[in-house]
Symmetry: C2
Subunit: 191 residues, 2 copies
């Protein structure tokens, strides 16, 4: 029955519409400005339609976060692929990471604040998260030495994450960010 298929397709399209609209609004004005009423108006449907797709506003935020992880993974992949040797690859990946967080602050915050309770290095982790983690792992692999690779990757990710969030929150002076990154790479490059 192709009718059922068409309906499912249309439903999927509308779900995409919701997530994209939510992300655009959030990135432009923050999540407080993304009310269910505004979001419904934006997609030209009524409010309750949102709840036939998502359990609530939190679930919409989680969907946006997942999109963000997919985009981050792609960004890191591109950065790593375009580098000549291992050390510049690591530097490029780190720079791409902070650039990503800097240019999409709301999206980045959503990715790490929303109630997605899944770990990075786990089998049941969503694919985009695993992909991003894998990119980082390959980037740090040459300098891991005899340390456990996953643990080493986690620490590197945590350092990048700490740098970006503290800088974004105004806790660290933004003008010294490059020096901090250089220091980080210095500590993580030499095996």
């Amino acid at each position: 029955m192709p009718i059922q298929e068409r309906r499912e397709r249309e439903r999927a399209e509308r779900e995409r519409l919701i997530v994209d609209a939510a992300r655009e609004l959030a990135e432009a004005e923050g999540w407080d400005a993304v009310t269910t009423r505004r979001l419904a108006e934006r997609i030209e449907y009524s409010q309750p339609v949102l709840y036939s797709h998502f359990k609530g506003k939190d679930a919409i935020m989680a969907a946006v976060a997942l999109d963000g992880f997919a985009e981050l993974a792609a960004t890191l992949r591109a950065a790593r692929a375009g580098a000549a040797d291992a050390n510049t690859a690591l530097a490029e990946v780190a720079a791409a990471y902070t650039r990503f967080a800097e240019t999409r602050p709301v999206l980045y915050e959503t990715m790490f604040t929303s109630a997605v309770d899944l770990t990075f290095a786990s089998p049941e982790t969503p694919a985009p998260l695993r992909a991003g983690f894998a990119e980082l792992r390959e980037a740090v692999r040459p300098s891991a030495g005899d340390a456990d690779l996953d643990t080493y990757t986690e620490l590197f990710w945590a350092s990048l994450h700490g740098l970006t969030t503290l800088t974004r929150g105004g806790r660290l002076p933004r003008e010294a960010q490059e020096r901090r990154l250089a220091l980080l790479l210095d500590r993580f490059s030499r095996g």
Copy 2:
């Protein structure tokens, strides 16, 4: 006129009452459960009294955050003071930091989420923030080498912060936290 003094004293006491009650409630049930109505009931005053002390709920959260920074600074100081040599001092400080974040998750999150827009290493920074930063700086000083000390401290702080927030958010497996910490110390201990 001692009457005026008594009033100011009572006002200060009540403000303390508000902040403490807010913190207790938040640590027990999260900030969403800290409504202005519940908070007012808790301190046995009416709602508008809160607004004669603070501009809004955000300001109350900021006050709680500042208390948290003072407590963190004291914790770090105690950890550093009780260590024999430089390397164990650094390890003790790092352990105390993550323990602090682990045992007071809501407080810690408040400290870094609330809209306090002040940097660590700046003259106009509140004292508790400066004190905490100073403790970290002294802890990492012996291993800073020829790197800029403030930048080095900021990177160390950021790494600790990233580890705690990612672990708390469920992004990193909790059972490997000690190994990550050991790896961090390994990278930051040798000058």
